[in-house]
């Protein structure tokens, strides 16, 4: 009974305000109610846009932010909302914000952001592929491949192939206690080991732990002592922040 009453009240309530347009100092934000049904939301959005079309008129282009709160929107639903908003000529949807993500996405992000540690020997013919950073406790033997979307850290000897930033991250590094690789690649830059006849004594490339990275604006892979890795990571983190802010 109470429910029915509520429904009646809701349907008769004229100013339900499922869609709120708020002006902040960063620009306009469209707040979408996250409790009503999607159809209701769309209906109200349509009405609002019809009314506000005149308000916006042919004014200068405005970028608006959309905030869907705790509503999960499928990609076609998102598109529908963006299309509705952009019907008003000057409006351009910049950011689409939602407080919820799917379980799959959350798991993926967790993997990508995290460090996976693996204790084994990556032998000839084996491929160890990790989302995010990887810490290998063991060796990578000649013919074995270790690859990660993030950084590769090896607490052991790298004698095979290591690929860091395989999805394009140029800031990724390959760090190994003993660096005697066949090949290293970071993003699309590749380092080939010196040919075997050049290093007859079969010693590693460096006397101490090093990391491989792409030096500034360079497509070539360079090496630096592992103790300076902290500085490098700080620097790249700062760069990332800057690029986000601008």
């Amino acid at each position: 009974m109470a429910q029915a009453l509520e429904v009646k009240q809701m349907s008769t309530e004229p100013s339900k305000n499922l869609v709120t347009i708020k002006g902040t100092k960063d620009g306009l934000t469209v707040l979408l109610d996250d409790q009503c049904s999607f159809d209701e939301l769309i209906k109200e959005l349509k009405e609002k846009m019809k009314k506000d079309k005149q308000v916006f008129g042919n004014g200068p282009e405005v970028e608006v932010k959309v905030d869907a709160g705790y509503r999960y929107l499928r990609s076609h639903q998102k598109e529908q909302i963006i299309n509705l908003l952009e019907e008003a000529e000057p409006i351009l949807v910049g950011e689409f914000h939602s407080k919820v993500i799917t379980r799959e996405q959350a798991e993926r992000e967790k993997e990508e952001g995290g460090l996976t540690s693996v204790a084994k020997i990556v032998r000839s013919g084996q491929v160890l592929r990790i989302q995010g950073d990887v810490l290998l406790l063991g060796d990578v033997n000649p013919g074995g491949i270790i690859e990660a979307t993030g950084n590769v850290y090896i607490l052991g000897t790298l004698k095979g192939t290591a690929r860091a930033g395989i999805e394009g991250s140029k800031n990724a590094v390959v760090c190994a206690s003993v660096m005697a690789p066949h090949q290293i690649s970071i993003s699309d830059a590749i380092f080939y080991a010196p040919d075997r006849y050049e290093k007859k004594d079969r010693k590693p490339l460096f006397e101490e732990p090093v990391y491989a990275y792409i030096a500034n604006e360079d497509v070539e892979i360079s090496f630096e002592k592992a103790r300076l890795l902290g500085q490098f990571l700080k620097k790249t983190a700062a760069q990332k922040e800057n690029s986000l802010n601008t």
Binding site: R123, S124, G125, Q126, N141, P142, G143, G144, K200
Partner: protein, 263 residues
């Protein structure tokens, strides 16, 4: 109930068959009941190395397909009553047998013997899968050269996925003199990171013995023979120190080392 040990290497020509024949014979010398199984269908050699190639009537494929009983296909060794050989077929190829049939044959053999030694073909295809399917343990044979070690590493990786105890290593054809540019036993062990079961020095006598159809282990004066005998004793659980490789020193160097001078 015996144990089935597969002898494998990945690469061809490193001495799997020689190692199988000699480990088998060395275990027989210790009065163990041993059955050698050649799984290299189409390219059988174990019977030749053992000098039993003239006695084959039925083979592994006949046994697998039920044309004979497993016992009928076995050949008794001419030297030891406790050593038998199950030869591979020469007329078919690796696909003539599948892993299930192989498992069945090995499990039929195991109750009658202390050790079933399975000689694996080169490669990592069907023949390898068959040979490994019935085994409880594995011995990886390699020579100290870069290609053989690379393949052995691949095999160790594959064996680690099998339900068996970690494989053990035999380094075959170790040179007496160590050259700077070549791999030594320590390099091989460092790369593969598995237990070293033994080393066999490079010895021409091994080849000559194969020609005679008599495993080198029968000749007590050869260093290679001693290596195989030591491996057999280690398989039986004895703790035998790794033998020092005779460096074939010059007389002058020998005298010097006798006097305690640095060579």
């Amino acid at each position: 109930m015996g144990e089935a040990i597969v002898i494998t290497s990945g690469k061809g020509g490193v001495g799997k068959t020689t190692t199988s024949a000699n480990i088998g014979t060395a275990l027989a010398l210790q009065e163990k009941k041993v059955c050698l199984v050649d799984t290299d269908i189409g390219l059988r050699n174990l019977d030749v190395v053992m000098g039993l190639d003239n006695r084959i009537i039925y083979d592994l494929v006949d046994a697998a397909e039920g044309r004979c009983r497993v016992q009928q296909a076995l050949i008794r060794d001419k030297r030891f009553d406790c050593l038998h050989l199950l030869p591979a077929a020469q007329t078919s190829d690796k696909s003539a047998v599948n892993a299930e049939q192989m498992k069945q044959i090995i499990s039929e053999l195991k109750p009658d013997y202390d050790y079933v030694i399975i000689d694996c073909p080169a490669g990592i295809e069907q023949g390898y899968k068959n040979a490994v399917s019935g085994a409880d343990q594995a011995i990886v044979v390699t020579t100290p050269d870069i290609a053989a070690v690379r393949d052995a590493d691949r095999i160790v990786g594959l064996l680690e996925q099998e339900d068996m105890s970690p494989p053990r290593l035999v380094v075959n054809r170790v040179r007496r003199t160590q050259e700077e540019d070549l791999l030594d036993v320590d390099d091989v062990v460092a790369t593969l990171a598995i237990d070293l079961l033994g080393i066999i020095v490079d010895d021409e006598e091994v080849l000559k013995a194969s020609h005679k159809g008599e495993p080198i282990v029968m000749n007590p004066n050869s260093q290679a023979s001693l290596g195989y005998r030591n491996i057999a004793r280690r398989i039986l659980g004895e703790s035998v120190p790794l033998m020092a490789i005779d460096q074939k020193k010059s007389l002058f160097a020998k005298v010097k080392s006798m006097l305690g001078l640095k060579v």
